[in-house]
């Protein structure tokens, strides 16, 4: 063996040794720490939302640990999370889940960001019977596979814009409306679409345009030109942040007049900031808003959470952060009720979860989705050049009246 080869072998064995000694120090519960694992998108196309998710997790871990931690069998434990960067890649996420479970010995998982990645990880956690509380996978298909160890604190995607159709029908005097819709061809947006189809059927509404959007969307002029010709009552667009931004840019440029415009991802796209007044009157689905009146003892209210989050991370929390924080509250509650670290006991406790957090009520349905929390709708409203998201539905939390119909572009300043 020559010198370089020897050096190489030494190097590799040193790394292996280091890894072994490093990983063996982690287990499901290590001293006073309960170790959770999460693969999360810190790089790649989901990195901004991945960071929002991680910040939400970290904020809750700090808060719970500071306020006494988790009490199991009379002893206080603290949370700790092992993170790996999944590079926004589903295959990588599944590998990392495997690694967290098999090498790092993690027994409880927190979800990644996005439906696609959650879908990639769920079969792994299911295989090893690892309870996973996830906060960022809303796709309906996650909850129809019969997973027993998957719990989602958020409302499923098909509920995102159903409320909007109900609202449109209500404004139309209870009669069905004409819907034009454009959805990206990904799991999440397609679920939102299914929700709209259901709502249309239920209310006797008619879908007159149903355009699929590509992943590389940056131009939807064709769809909008068609919308101008057929004049629907509602235009629904869902294609993540690029869909929201492209839609508003081209609707304003092409002067497309629709009485109602409903979208997803407005807050993630910072719509009201990036497009200002052009985005006014857009109706957006959201899992959470800081003005809702839910409360818990860790974060107080949504407003308080937003203030603390702003102080710690320097920006207003998007709902992705809030729901991620809520996932930790769910885990704490389940550990304490299970009063054990047995995976199945924790899993059973999760099934029986029924609690209120600052983020909303949480109770899991048979598929693992949260059935206790409705989606909310907000509308972008502007005062001068200052635009803001105002909650308009459900009426219980509405801070503003829903503005309908949207004034024509020729009448807008």
């Amino acid at each position: 063996m020559n010198k370089i080869a020897k050096l190489f072998v030494t190097f590799i064995s040193a790394i292996t040794l280091a890894l072994v000694s490093f990983t063996s120090s982690f287990a499901k519960v290590d001293g006073e720490y309960i170790v959770l694992g999460s693969a999360i998108s810190l790089t790649g196309k989901y990195s901004s939302n991945g960071v929002h998710t991680q910040n939400g997790y970290n904020m809750a871990v700090d808060r719970i640990n500071k306020m006494g931690g988790v009490e199991v069998q009379g002893k206080k434990y603290k949370f700790e999370i092992i993170y790996y960067d999944d590079e926004s890649n589903p295959k990588r996420a599944a590998q990392l889940a495997e690694r967290l479970i098999k090498q790092d010995g993690v027994h409880y998982m927190l979800g990644p960001y996005s439906s696609g990645l959650t879908k990639a990880i769920a079969p792994v956690t299911e295989k090893y019977k690892i309870p996973m509380v996830e906060a960022n996978g809303a796709s309906r298909s996650l909850f129809t596979k019969g997973y027993k160890y998957l719990f989602a604190v958020l409302s499923p995607a098909n509920q995102y814009l159903e409320v909007a159709i109900d609202l449109a029908v209500e404004k139309n005097g209870g009669k069905g409306v004409k819907i034009a819709q454009a959805f990206e061809q990904d799991a999440f947006s397609q679920d939102v679409r299914l929700g709209i189809l259901d709502a249309a059927k239920r209310t006797g509404s008619e879908i007159i345009i149903d355009d699929p959007l590509p992943k590389e969307l940056n131009d939807m002029a064709a769809t909008l030109a068609k919308v101008k010709v057929v004049k629907p009552d509602v235009l629904v667009v869902s294609g993540h942040t690029k869909g929201a931004l492209t839609a508003i840019r081209q609707i304003s440029e092409m002067k497309v007049d629709v009485p109602m415009l409903a979208m997803t991802h407005c807050d993630a796209a910072k719509l009201s900031k990036q497009h200002g007044k052009k985005s006014e009157f857009a109706l957006c689905a959201s899992q959470w808003h800081k003005n809702l009146s839910y409360k818990d003892k860790f974060f107080g209210s949504g407003k308080k959470y937003a203030k603390d989050f702003q102080k710690e991370f320097g920006y207003d929390p998007p709902y992705q952060s809030a729901e991620s924080s809520a996932a930790l509250l769910v885990f704490k509650d389940a550990f304490e009720r299970a009063n054990s670290f047995d995976r199945d006991a924790v899993r059973d406790a999760l099934v029986d979860t029924e609690m209120q957090t600052f983020y909303g009520n949480i109770k899991f349905g048979p598929g693992g989705q949260n059935v206790a929390k409705p989606m909310i709708l907000f509308q972008v409203r502007c005062k001068g050049d200052d635009c803001e998201n105002r909650v308009v539905a459900p009426t219980k939390w509405a801070s503003d009246k829903f503005y309908h119909p949207i004034p024509k572009w020729s009448e807008r300043s």
């Binding site: 790089t43 926004s88 590389e216 931004l245 840019r249 002067k255």
Partner: protein, 297 residues
């Protein structure tokens, strides 16, 4: 429903206008690709990513409160040096090798650029606002965003300026000489190394202009460069390397094709249709080439 375009002919006018305006922009990107392909025999996979980087430069100055239209001047200046640096760092090592090596190298550059842009500018989709308003035709039924008209105008302006520059200037003549015969040019005293660097820089500058225009007409995201690479590749394949009018025409043709594909097949298949067209063109070109070869035998 998808055939609405045939029921409402006004949509044809809209589609044609949109197609031509956006096609001119594609032609500008393709022109840069044709230039450096012709001179250096390099197919630049990172072309689209250079465009997006140019767009982010315009977006950055927009964030500083400067009107993003200034991007069409600032962005190419910065991008010229980016291109120059890329040449000195990577391209000069592969410029004499075969085409495959250069494709691999520029593919690598593309990945690194995407990740760096993601790192620096974030993964969010961003837009710059030009506030140029809209031109309405035919009783408001056809709308043309002024930003698209502006972008077509600027593209034509720069393309014409570059043609004149290539014809009249010393460097332009050196570039053309190198393209015709690099060895002969070298013997006659042309510093081909410098010519290559300048060519790559000029190509990057053209991408910078296109990027700045995209930031005000469409949207920017670190990972949307590839469709621009494919489009320019296709335009160049159809038009050939040394023929600017052909590049312009095939650029507009592609724009029209995309818009009509969008109306007829749906937005989902817009890029799909472009890729399909690329395959068809490649098959056809190869067919033609192989026939020619047989003839030569």
């Amino acid at each position: 429903m998808d055939f609405l375009i045939f029921k409402a002919p006004i949509l044809m006018v809209q589609a044609s206008m949109d197609g031509i305006l956006i096609g001119i922009l594609f032609a500008l990107i393709a022109y840069g690709m044709a230039l450096q392909w012709g001179v250096m025999n390099i197919i630049n996979i990172a072309q689209g990513d250079l465009v997006i980087l140019g767009g982010y430069i315009a977006y950055t100055i927009y964030l500083w409160g400067i009107h993003p239209a200034w991007g069409v001047i600032i962005s190419p200046i910065i991008m010229f040096f980016v291109g120059w640096a890329l040449y000195k760092l990577v391209i000069n090592k592969v410029v004499d090798r075969d085409l495959f090596i250069s494709i691999l190298a520029t593919f690598g550059i593309a990945i690194v650029m995407q990740q760096l842009m993601n790192f620096i500018f974030g993964a969010d989709v961003v837009v710059a606002q030009s506030e140029y308003g809209t031109t309405m035709l035919f009783d408001n039924s056809v709308t043309l965003p002024n930003s698209k008209i502006f972008s077509a105008f600027i593209s034509v302006l720069y393309a014409v300026a570059l043609v004149i520059y290539m014809k009249k200037s010393r460097l332009g003549r050196a570039i053309r000489a190198t393209a015709q015969n690099a060895r002969a040019a070298k013997i006659l005293g042309v510093d081909t190394e410098k010519v290559y660097a300048a060519t790559f820089g000029i190509n990057a500058a053209l991408c910078g202009i296109a990027g700045a225009l995209i930031s005000i007409t469409l949207t920017l995201h670190p990972y949307v460069g590839l469709p621009y690479t494919v489009r320019s590749f296709m335009i160049v394949i159809v038009a050939g390397l040394g023929n600017l009018p052909a590049v312009a025409v095939s650029g507009m043709g592609l724009g029209l094709f995309e818009e009509f594909a969008d109306y007829i097949l749906g937005t989902e298949f817009r890029i799909g249709a472009v890729f399909l067209l690329l395959v068809l063109i490649l098959v056809y070109r190869r067919f033609k080439l192989s026939r020619k070869r047989e003839y030569l035998k």
